[in-house]
């Protein structure tokens, strides 16, 4: 089944790579322009569940990799098929220097917080996203904190080493 999906995808999109590393897993590598159309095609094929949008910072290659993980909801009422077992990983690389990608909210509504999170933690701009506002963080960072060049220990040192101990302030110590 996955094999036929692979062939189908490869026949429609010319510049993508589809691998099946093991049963029930399908990895698609595609250029970022094709993401939206691949996702809507897959959704039409029954892979309606967007489980996760993630991002990997390949700092040495100066690229971000956006990862969309899809699976299928129940196809039948009372029976489990191989289709639900399948996880599809769609990966696309975007430039680290100008991290931009189109939002997938038109296809998957629940992409909204995921994209918002990646915008906050990696500084990726999602074209067409209705509210790219901060989600978790309370302050601004020079470098978005989940990028590989953000060193948590250095940050802690810089920020918190300047704050004196409570004991020092009241002169107990």
């Amino acid at each position: 089944m996955n094999q036929s999906l692979k062939e189908k995808l490869e026949s429609i999109f010319s510049d993508i790579e589809v691998t099946i590393p093991e049963d029930d897993r399908l990895i698609i590598t595609a250029p970022k322009d094709a993401v939206l159309s691949i996702l809507s095609l897959l959704k039409g094929k029954g892979y309606e569940h967007l489980a996760l949008i993630s991002c990997v910072d390949w700092i040495e290659e100066k690229e971000f990799e956006l990862v969309y993980i899809l699976s299928a909801y129940m196809q039948k009422e009372d029976e489990y098929t191989d289709k639900e077992k399948t996880n599809i990983t769609l990966k696309t690389r975007i430039s680290r220097g100008k991290p931009e990608c189109i939002t997938v909210i038109p296809v998957f509504e629940n992409a909204e917080p995921y994209e918002r999170e990646l915008h906050e933690l990696y500084g990726i701009h999602f074209e067409g996203h209705p509210r790219l506002l901060p989600l978790f963080l309370e302050r601004e960072y020079k470098i978005p904190p989940f990028r590989k060049d953000f060193d948590t220990r250095e940050y802690v040192k810089e920020v918190f080493d300047e704050i004196p101990f409570v004991e020092d302030k009241v002169g107990q110590k």
Binding site: E48, P145, T152
Partner: protein, 365 residues
Amino acid sequence: MRELELYFGPQHLGMVGNFSITLKVEGDRILEATANPGYLHRGFEKLMEYRTWIQNFPMVCRINVIEPDSMEMVYAMAVEKLAKIEVPERANYIRAIVLELARVGSHLFGLWAYANMLGFDTVAQWAMYHRDLVLDLFEELVGGRVYHIYIWPGGVRRDFPEGFKDKIVTTLHAIGGCVPDYDATFFENRLFYERAKGIGKVTREEAKEMGATGQVLRATGMKYDIRKVEPYAAYDKVPWEVPTREDGDAFSRIWIVRDEMIESVHMIFKLLDKMPEGEVYNRIPNPFKWNIPKGEAYVRVESSRGELGLYLVSNGEDKPYRVHFRTPSYPHGLTVLEKALKNASIADVGNTMISLYVVAPEIDR
């Protein structure tokens, strides 16, 4: 009427956990709800990039304090997949038993939260007491009550202590014996029906559209459960049922919590009966020299709240390159909640939120 902005939480009585919702209200009617997470954002996924594979174990369980075992399980599964480590059969059974015990404990906690929020203090106290009995079991097994650090790559950390099987059975009988009391005071109490029926209603189409899993989805009649869809541990070794309901409201969701607990208890008994003897741990490599080959994995388990996934990337080093948890509360708390609160009344905010079973630390990570 005048439009007001109302801050609900994080210190609101009807709000469990460090989470707040900004409501735009007109009178009692909510026009728009904005989920406001981040009170418990600890950046675990980033911190894990700084620690070795094994050092991350005491860390993953802290992402969800209520049910740490699923977190350990999903991390162990991902590491095992990347490092190609086999797990002994007995360990698979123990894992399933521990995960189901954790589910019971977690559901009791959820029941406490929900009952407490509705003002059913008696039931809440019972649930808390019974959860404590489950924690006693964990203390006996792993030495810690809340953070277990028990399921790890290669199997589990220690075998059952002597007489532990009997203790599980006794404890579960004690809890199970109280089901009629719970039913009488809560589930079959007309007040519960009146307060929960029709609250936070989500249709199946909406649930699918918003990436819902777990009780939220099962309350709309779909038997979607990762334990059945893609069985792990020993879930395919014994027969069991996935409880569902039809209406997609708070009432259905809380009933599913009840039914799931009962199903879990039955499953534990079946697993205990079938559990083989033997090893429970295949030794992992020396932690100071443990490099995991380059690769990536997405694994998922059914936590007590829905699909818990982990996207794990290794760069061939002794530490993970990228960790990203797909927690069930994330879509439930951020997408489903905002939608379900639209046009609801202020009095139902806590009811909706807790019946969606949202755990804030899981969202923030």
